[in-house]
């Protein structure tokens, strides 16, 4: 096989593709820490207006008004999300503490699967809205599940946690803001 310029380039191609991937990885690495603190445009602003049909009880929809008059935790989850399974225990623990009700947004999910998940793992939620198309999640600025918001009694988003909820995060970032 001759080693003309074109066939030589063929052998450099994999290296080029790998470099491109590296750029993505490096960008991800240096880009993520800022997001870890979460620059959400929603922070300090009222929670978006929304209304979602109830997952377990059609007569109990999840709406912006549901979050008024008391502190609320809004947790975005889905049965397709592995991390959500990981944080489920923590949510049940939070429910058991009884300090703040958790409202769930079931994101881009199958209703039957979601109900089966809850009956199997237990239900930490006060109320769950089924966001089948993912529209409401966009309004909330969700970009991956799970995400958890803390909303104050006047309906303002106070804090947002990205990724699985842990007892530590709950203690340090949520409970501390409640006081």
């Amino acid at each position: 096989m001759n080693t003309s310029a074109t066939s030589a380039a063929r052998f450099v191609l994999p290296l080029g593709a790998f470099m491109l991937l590296l750029v993505v990885l490096i960008a991800g690495l240096y880009h993520a820490p800022q997001k870890g603190i979460i620059v959400s445009p929603l922070l300090g602003k009222p929670a978006p207006q929304f209304s979602l049909p109830g997952l377990l009880d059609e007569s109990a929809p999840l709406q912006a008004q549901t979050l008024r008059g008391h502190w609320s935790v809004v947790n975005v989850w889905g049965t397709w999300c592995a991390e959500c399974r990981a944080e489920h225990e923590t949510l049940l623990m939070i429910k058991q503490q009884g300090r703040v009700p958790i409202f769930g947004i079931d994101w881009k999910d199958d209703d039957d699967k979601a109900r089966a998940w809850l009956s199997e793992l237990g239900n930490p939620y006060e109320r769950i809205g089924a966001d089948r198309e993912g529209r409401v999640a966009i309004d909330w600025g969700v970009y991956g599940a799970p995400e958890t918001f803390l909303v104050n009694p006047s309906g303002t988003v106070v804090y947002k946690h990205v990724g699985a909820m842990t007892a530590e995060v709950w203690q340090q970032e949520f409970l501390s803001r409640l006081l």
């Binding site: 096989m1 080693t3 066939s7 030589a8 052998f11 450099v12 994999p14 290296l15 790998f18 470099m19 991937l21 590296l22 993505v24 990885l25 490096i26 960008a27 991800g28 690495l29 880009h31 993520a32 820490p33 997001k35 870890g36 889905g78 397709w80 592995a82 991390e83 225990e89 049940l92 623990m93 994101w107 881009k108 039957d112 109900r115 089966a116 009956s119 199997e120 793992l121 237990g122 239900n123 993912g134 999640a137 966009i138 969700v142 970009y143 991956g144 599940a145 990205v162 990724g163 699985a164």
Partner: protein
Amino acid sequence: MLVELGHYALILALLLAAAQAFFGLVGPALGRERWLAAVPSAATGQFVFLALAAGTLIHAFVENDFSVRYVAENSNSALPLFYRVTALWGAHEGSLLLWALVLGGWTVAVVARLRFLPPMFGARVLGVLGVVSFGFLLFTLCTSDPFVRLIPAVPDGNDLNPVLQDFALSIHPPILYTGYVGFAVSFAFACAAMIEGRRDQLWARWMRPWTVIAWAFLGWGIALGSWWAYYELGWGGFWFWDPVENASFMPWLVGTALIHSIAVTDKRGLFKSWTLLLAVAAFSLSLLGTFLVRSGVLVSVHSFAADPRRGIFILGFLIVMIGGALALYAWRAPRMVSAAGFELISRESFLLFNNLLLVIAAAVVFGGTMAPLIADTLHLGTLSVGPPYFNPSFLTPIVPLLALLPLGIHARWRRGGLSDARGRLLVSFGVSAALALALVFGVYMHPIPLTPIGAVLGVWIILSSLLDPLDRLRRRLSVPPAILGMTVAHIGLGLFVLGITFVESNTLERDIALKPGGAAELGDYRFRFDGVDNIEGPNYEGLRGTITVTRHGEPVTVLHPEKRRFWVQGSVQTTAAIADGLHRDLLASLGDDVGAGAFSLRFQYRPLIRFVWLGALVMAIGGVIVVWGRRLRGAGWASAAERAPASGAAAPAPGAPGGAA
């Protein structure tokens, strides 16, 4: 004290890995033959010290030494002994240690077979393995040291994650890692061949058995993981396209392409650059997988920089290993290729299609796994990727791959045409179609569009794989292990395809709340809920349900799904009850108490699901037969003619390469 000794052993292993890399790579480069002698000793020493390090940590687990942080975090005095040992790889730090230990094991295996390789080449292979090991051990010691003490010690440990307290999942990591890490050997052979710029194709023959064995272990490991997910998670699912699964599946797909392309390189001297690239890619994906998943990068996009030090180290390591190998490829591969032609319809061209389709499939999985990260970096916003993406895009290359397989195994090397096999292929296709359609429309019914396609392909792959061995037996010829292994592996694939096809199209599920005495129907089966009892285990307590299953009034089985609460971590875990059978599984899982004595229950009927794992197991057995068979026939892993001249074996070259290779 022992733990500190283990720590020192790990540091010594690191130094020996450095010596192994230095003498293995620099020695041949400078032509210092006497340096080469140090390489196998360094490699063996490294393994010994790694084993010591792992041994002291296991000792700490067994003796419940909670002054070691890693033990305190991952074990508990109430944990059964078996799980105290396997808790070694229950979390990040220990997994890295296991990884390094497995790599040490492979390295020692290479040392044991060193006499079949030219000394320079063998030293380079070990040198590359030394670089890999050095990087891993440095990473372990700098960022993920499992030997850190916890002062003051805690009275009792935090317990092993309950999910991991399971037999299949305990043995899953060592097997999976044996596969993952085995590709490091293929990688090292490819790098050594590129460093030497070898124009022959012997390196492919030398690399082949290692690659096939690694591939078999990886397949077995993946199947074990899937089987575990199935019975432990109890959702009835066996594959979730979860990043962790994908991370092991991508190297398997590329490894599958590799064991096919290696055959072409070995036998015909073609596809050399492609084989090299696949060998580099298989290990690169293993590395990417182990690292990214283990550091939590891909599990959630968000935890990428959970520990920035780890992230940066990982990137550095990837740049050195993958970037280095690919640069070597760009530099050396062009001069290693040889010109030889083949016709459009020949074994070579079918294997080329096999490779392209498998690589496309791997790319599809890679794209889906990395998509959230990439989209996020490019500020494209939300992107959730799940089965709706994976299933159709994965099947697009895989269905043609399956359809070409029966043709490919009957195509001849180099020369065109299928003419002499055409009749048998047509007959086998006709028989397969009749059998499969009878199965689809007569037995299982309610097909979805893909059911007949999958069923016909599955049966046809099995029948057409049998044509050649049966023909040989009829003519009273022996079936060489290479052909036997290939046949077995392809039958495994056929079983796997049948399993997937029917479990995906004919599964029945039902969620229902029942009071004791209540019953639900699922197809022919009737599930009667008889109530729950309290149970207590060594480190948990819980509820156990009783469900009696009957079919047409005949008793079939009694199922006992459980719900366990682990004392230490307080976590609840549901354990589904499964009545397994070759032709179907019946599952029951116990949900919440919904009041008034009723419980929410989930019942499932899954036809032929055992074929999925059986198929994967049979595929891996096929790989083992190929390698083992060659050894038993005395061909060794390289026949006498290919042995290094320096080894003194002056056997004359046999007329033809042994076996069907």
